[in-house]
């Protein structure tokens, strides 16, 4: 099966563990070369993160398992790039034009 090169997840997590801990724990998963964790929203008890995971062959199940073990939940898988090439998203005609 083609390897996953890039995975973008929408994650909800408690304030503790911190975003730093989440990023480091996910970066330790098999096949992961790097992680970008961006705080999108913070609430009284929870935080919403965008987790961008890249590597030669990202193990999506392990990434999700690690997020769950840290007390987080994956709300949605927003982007997956798989195959030999890292294909970047290109604007499509139906995308709203920037105003």
């Amino acid at each position: 099966m083609a390897p996953i090169r890039r995975l973008v997840l929408d994650v909800l997590k408690p304030h503790s563990p911190s975003t730093v801990e989440v990023a480091r724990e996910v970066a330790d998963a098999a096949g992961v070369a790097g992680v970008n964790a961006t705080l999108l929203e913070t609430d009284r008890e929870v935080q919403n993160l965008r987790l961008v995971v890249e590597g030669e062959a990202v193990d999506a199940d392990e990434v999700e398992r690690r997020v769950r073990d840290l007390g987080g939940t994956v709300h949605s898988v927003d982007e997956v790039v798989a195959g030999e090439e890292l294909v970047a998203y290109r604007n499509q005609p139906q995308d709203p034009s920037p105003s």
Binding site: L12, K13, P14, S16, P17, D43, R68, D69, G71
Partner: protein, 189 residues
């Protein structure tokens, strides 16, 4: 596991709660010990080892009380915290790192709570091990009250130093309680 424990020991919330229990129960222990040694002296106990045995009994009682009560209090508090987070996340956090951290933090809180009275009682009892050689009962009692008051001072000085108060004033305020207990015991003993 040890890295997780080290991380929890650096956690501000875990430290703050542990510190409160340690100082609060250590304060109880030191005052209990000062009352105990003066009571023993005034009732005419002549053997230092007898005072130590009574004191160790008090230490066992207060240490058990410190560990047990905090274990139960923090069980309830941390379950309530976990429940609030679960409500916000709409998920069960049982078996996750969040729950494991709460259990470990409860253990650290309980250990600190038990350690306070143990230090507060055992240290002031040490002079009674030297009764007869070289200390007399009177001197052992005086040194013991001095050690108990010193522990209270150090608790106060430490709390003062972390809260931007003058540490020696905060220390003296706590030490005053030791002097007060000694004075009341001497007056009514």
């Amino acid at each position: 596991m040890s890295a997780r424990l080290a991380s929890l020991l650096r956690d501000d919330r875990v430290r703050a709660i542990s510190r409160r229990y340690f100082v609060s129960n250590g304060f109880d222990g030191a005052l209990t010990c000062i009352g105990l040694v003066i009571g023993a002296y005034l009732t005419g106990v002549t053997e230092g080892l007898t005072v130590v045995k009574i004191g160790v009994g008090a230490a066992v009682g207060l240490t058990t009380s410190g560990v047990w009560s905090v274990w139960e209090i923090e069980r309830a508090e941390k379950r309530a915290e976990l429940g609030r987070i679960e409500d916000a996340m709409l998920t069960d956090l049982g078996g996750t790192g969040v729950e494991r951290d709460k259990v470990a933090a409860r253990g650290i809180n309980a250990a600190a709570s038990g350690l306070g009275p143990l230090v507060g009682i055992v240290v002031p009892l040490l002079p009674f091990l030297a009764v007869g050689n070289p200390l007399s009962m009177t001197w052992a009692t005086l040194v013991s009250v001095g050690l108990g008051t010193g522990i209270l001072f150090s608790f106060g000085a430490y709390m003062g130093s972390i809260s931007d108060q003058r540490w020696y004033v905060a220390g003296l305020r706590m030490a005053l309680a030791g002097v007060a207990v000694a004075a009341v015991n001497l007056l009514f003993g």
